[in-house]
Symmetry: C2
């Protein structure tokens, strides 16, 4: 089923940067994957080519009408081994996103093979510092030169790679969040549960507002009643309540995070009780007041786990776990990243070794 992937060699290679000083998502490697879609031939000419600018029509439909989806995952180095974490899940979710925006689905196997080829070619770009990794960004957008609202006929599919430092240099560090009452991230029946471009632009103003008020992230409430907890920043959210791990139940507007899903599995494996619930903001606040909520953290590919030390609910500030990294967050983070970097056993079959 897999297509043959052509490789076009670069004439010269870039100098590799000191990853510890690189800003997230600003440096890219020597090669990228590319494939174009036409209604006649489907996804064709899958190839690995030198990283270069794209030439697109100013009328490219994806720019005007937002048919544009992406994924994010990472490659980790353990000595000479390069490890990928559940890459099949990313391509599966990419197809879910594509379907929701009426875009043509990809062949997941071809994509996986292309990714493996690309990472093998770029293996020297996978950094080895603490918390460092090679960030992988598959993305697809409509490039048909056409101004109109319908599913486009042609698309571009690329995978680009960016060496990144750990969010906290491999150390967890508590962040602060602001409960957003005005702006809404998503609503059931919308597109909050997929990784499409439009979701993120819509969130920036709330993020700026939180920053002006002195908070690092936004806590998003549901779009219907604005009283249930949904996500934090662009991460899923977890709570430790009476030693149980709680996370909002997927409801059509929350992204089904691969880190979320994997953390649930890992936590259960480690003996934690995990519950997926509708979580009222009021109950969360009460739990912070009476001490039954002992930890809060976000989860996502970029940071894995982001402990929350301070939270503003309707103007009132609550300190979580003394603004320290909690034991559950630390325990799950250590185990999870241990599996990702190959220093701990992977009992789940999550790791692909290249």
């Amino acid at each position: 089923m897999g297509q043959t992937i052509q490789i076009e060699k670069a004439n010269s290679l870039k100098e590799k940067p000191d990853v510890s000083t690189v800003k997230f998502g600003t440096v890219f490697t020597d090669y990228m994957f590319t494939s174009d879609y036409t209604p006649e031939h489907g996804w064709e000419e899958p190839a690995i080519v030198p990283y270069k600018n794209l030439e697109i029509s100013p009328a490219a439909n994806g720019i005007h009408y937002g048919q544009s989806v992406f994924e994010g995952l990472k490659a980790y180095r353990n000595g000479e081994d390069i490890l990928l974490f559940r890459p099949d899940e990313n391509f599966k979710r990419l197809n879910t996103s594509l379907e929701r925006l009426a875009m043509p689905k990809i062949n997941e196997e071809t994509s996986l093979n292309a990714l493996y080829e690309l990472i093998k070619l770029e293996r020297d770009w996978v950094p080895d510092g603490p918390g460092q990794s090679l960030y992988i960004r598959p993305f697809i957008f409509a490039d048909e030169a056409f101004l109109g609202v319908r599913s486009a006929r042609t698309y571009k599919y690329n995978i680009i790679l960016s060496p990144v430092a750990g969010y906290y240099g491999g150390q967890l560090d508590p962040t602060s969040i602001y409960v957003e009452d005005d702006y809404v991230r998503a609503v059931r029946g919308g597109v909050g549960d997929i990784k499409c471009a439009g979701n993120y632009a819509a969130s920036i103003l709330a993020q700026q507002k939180a920053a002006e008020l002195g908070y690092e992230q936004v806590l998003w409430l549901d779009g219907v009643e604005q009283k249930y907890v949904e996500e934090v920043g662009s991460m899923n959210i977890f709570f430790v309540r009476n030693n149980e791990l709680i996370t909002p139940k997927l409801n059509g507007s929350i992204l089904s995070g691969i880190t979320r899903k994997s953390l649930i599995q890992l936590a259960e494996y480690k003996g934690y009780t995990v519950k997926e619930e509708r979580i009222l903001l009021d109950d969360l606040r009460d739990g912070l007041r009476d001490g039954s909520i002992s930890e809060i953290f976000g989860s996502g590919t970029a940071a894995v786990i982001s402990p929350i030390g301070r939270m503003n609910v309707h103007g009132e500030d609550y300190v979580v776990n003394d603004n320290q990294v909690g034991p559950v967050a630390q325990d799950l983070y250590d185990h999870y990243t241990g599996i990702q970097y190959g220093t701990l056993e992977d009992p789940f079959g999550w790791i692909v070794k290249l």
Copy 2:
């Protein structure tokens, strides 16, 4: 305040097509406007250059995270005169869209001047057939090569032009609509009230579903309670109820259409009573049953007025005004397009003559 606009001449000009056979938004003229934004210099190098492909980084932030907004307006020909309809309103709304997505605002006067220069240069592209016009598409997107969710540092601003036939060759023709119960277009606190790329991609699947069921457009309900009427397709919606013109009141999730606003003003000028209300779908259905709703039509730049002849509400089909163009729709359409094409007096100061 206005910046000087450089003009780079094309070596050769394209052959102009027979506009009556051109598909909407697929043919573009010889020139386009371009300006780039940097934090250091703001919007700089405003220029009119030959229409050509854009070269952008595969990491261009707008493609990944959706900071991308646009406008749509038209130039009309009356003999040797070229007429624009309220172009200032489009650049004002462009700024509203830019603000909501945390993008840098444009200078509206510079934009208007640039547009006038561009249209003067391209005046031969403004067609003269019935219902024909030159569609104008200003758009701005983030082009910083950066993978991360924050306001980008650099942006591209372009205006491109496309000669278009009338939606109905200048004749109104009733369409059919399907009330969408599952998919949601927008919710208050979101971005439904601006023209950003993400809104449109999110609507395509519902549009496809309506088409499969035999309807041409989607009627969108509010995102909170899913029982109030909001928009139809990518148009605002109007009803004639007991000879009064009714349209949903702006509520933060409905686009503030320039055609909507102008039709309200024109209708009042012509002696119609116009009401902006929250409109329950149930009341609309009751009005179709008892005959108090005599017409329904969409309004937007592309079609001006799009009469609705058939409507599916929760599986039941209602015929509106015998599936004929209603007298109010026809009256407003004739007067409105008469002003746009300069065949009727413009008592509002809407028209800019070039």
